[in-house]
Subunit: 344 residues, 2 copies
DNA sequence: TATTAGCACTCGAAACGACCGAGTGCTAAT
DNA sequence: ATTAGCACTCGGTCGTTTCGAGTGCTAATA
């Protein structure tokens, strides 16, 4: 369908446009290594345009890749650049501090990934839904306040301070803790979440007249732990990209990113490995001129996590692909170590 | 010095400029209620300019208040607008949820204040430095992880999960906890912080060969609790203000606000009550075209806290002053209640 | 003496237009 | 199939003009 030269031209259009941000013209392509006259290149350009791979912003400008063009490039022409050893070791180094809870590692990873790419990065830890509630503690802090601590499967910890309502005695609390330990600890979180709305209130009714107040508290705590949390790094990097035409849109994007649910569904990826979505493929009007690279990673029997970066449509795909690819492996390795340590 | 009409004119210039953002001309002032011809007003304007209260962006524009003009307005002309009952009750309502730890109340207050003013808001809880360490708990989570919980004076809680180094046995941990409980609980935080670097290591040396690793952990945890934390709400509101000329400056301001130390010293206020700093008075080049309203509030014997808002120099001072004034009292009352509850 | 009407003047913002040049499409020659 | 040549397009830049809000000054007025 496309001649080799046409493939070369498309590749260069994508890469030069990524490098300069400008539309690419026939002479530029000639100088960039296409072995043909500018006229010939123009013919090819015109062909590529007819086929929908590139388009021109206006008559007398150069060409710019279309979404379809990017798609084709990403699917067939992209050669992931290998990550330099220095970068690799800088990734490792940034994970090298002795982190504490899993959440903090995940949070840090979003930070590092965004620094590395200078775009906005997302990080979601290994699948939460398969996790079990492995520990539940309530620690008295003073007369009126308690701290509830929830430990899930491995390493993930949520805590919340709460004030005891007037009508609840410390004996009541004891009983509730015992019930929770009996009935909930060791169960998958999803079960916990369900029982909390069905079975537990029934049991509590046997002991208390009005279990509602205290139940609300525990429900909110456990609910917190249940929610998966996507960490975001480098949100301000979006401001550098000239793709945010006005401040208003930036605020919209920012508030989009403040909403866990929306972010969650944004970086949801259907398939294994790395997926690249370009412009309108993201199916979100706000992000129409951006691209999203999503990658999943497996941590042995501990489920799979997700990382992602969001940048301009004309990002340097091969470099970004390389970074994301390297990063997902590093993170998976690091987490495998982390779990191994916990198990030892 | 200034005639009554000149005072009126200055007031109107400030207020109209706040309302429209445009320089104010003589005709506008005439229509806005100054009882004199535009020529007369021009004379007064020219006088006010000579005295340094107003200035003109360029020859054929209207006048704009100078910093000195704002200063005079704020010091002598400003009538704080009273806050409507609805607003007052909406403030109260937003505090009405059953909050848990003090930090969360303070965080929420920054949020509410920024919503109310549509500027950026800061909130610092009642003086931390006078606080004492009243509780210290270490809770085992699993084989390798512990959670340390620190409770200060009243209601303030910090927690941190950490992984136990290989060379530390659970007996060691027990001993350390005991030492901390003996030597540190009940002391003011500042003492804790100091002892942690002097006395405690000496004691530990008696028991362990290499106390360093474990000490690092505790030091970082306690250090965390020691740090005062200013909460910020509505940072994105700065983007609405047309005062941020370019995205670059916004990023600078944003990173300024990401630095606890800088924010802390920013909202440091010398005097009691409400203080208004205008433009260059803030002594920060980045904020040269903004104003900062800082207010302190007392919570009986629990120290004093600070709230602040940061907005454009031409903000509606009387309204903002009113809001901040109302807010500091509401917050003080609410916290007084909160502490009363804890003491009961 | 304070106020006001009148008028010439200033200067930024917006509208206009000429020009430039990168880039195109097409045609005819190789 | 490729290329040289050329007329054409159109956004961006830059200087000019126009417009109008606002000023300062002067002379008349209360």
């Amino acid at each position: 369908m496309l001649s080799q030269r046409q493939l070369d031209i498309l590749t260069l259009v994508v890469q030069l446009h990524a490098a300069t941000g400008e539309p690419v013209g026939s002479k530029t392509l000639m100088n960039a290594g296409i072995n043909a006259s500018s006229a010939t290149i123009r013919n090819d350009l015109s062909f590529l345009e007819k086929e929908g791979f590139i388009e021109k912003p206006h008559t007398s400008a150069g060409r710019v890749p279309s979404v379809q063009g990017y798609r084709f490039y990403v699917d067939h022409l992209l050669k992931p650049s290998t990550v330099s050893n220095e970068e690799l070791s800088s990734i490792r180094q940034s994970f090298n501090r002795n982190f504490t809870a899993l959440n903090e590692i995940i949070e840090k990873s979003a930070q590092v990934l965004s620094d590395l790419t200078s775009y906005t990065a997302f990080s979601l830890g290994p699948e939460m839904n398969e996790r079990k509630l492995t520990g539940f503690r309530v620690v008295p802090l003073n007369n009126q306040q308690l701290m509830a601590i929830i430990v899930t499967d491995r390493g993930n910890v949520e805590s919340q301070v709460f004030t005891v309502p007037d009508d609840v005695s410390s004996g009541d609390i004891e009983k509730i803790i015992q019930i929770i330990n009996d009935k909930l600890v060791g169960q998958p979180l999803i079960t916990v979440y369900n029982k909390l709305r069905t079975e537990i209130p029934l049991i509590l009714q046997r002991y208390f007249q009005t279990p509602r107040g205290i139940m609300d508290i525990f429900e909110s705590i456990l609910g917190n732990a249940f929610e998966e949390r996507v960490y975001i790094g480098g949100q301000m990097n979006l401001l550098d990209v000239d793709l945010i035409p006005d401040v208003h849109q930036f605020k919209l994007v920012y508030s989009l990113m403040s909403n866990q649910n929306q972010v969650s569904s944004l970086i949801q990826t259907p398939k294994e490995g790395i997926s690249i979505r370009i412009g309108e493929e993201i199916q979100n009007d706000l992000l129409a001129n951006m691209s999203l690279i999503t990658a999943s990673y497996d941590v042995a029997e501990h489920g799979t996590g997700t990382i992602a970066i969001l940048g301009p449509t004309n990002m340097a795909y091969s470099r970004m692909f390389g970074i994301v690819e390297a990063f997902r492996h590093e993170l998976a390795d690091y987490l495998a170590d982390y779990y191994r340590l916990l198990d030892s």
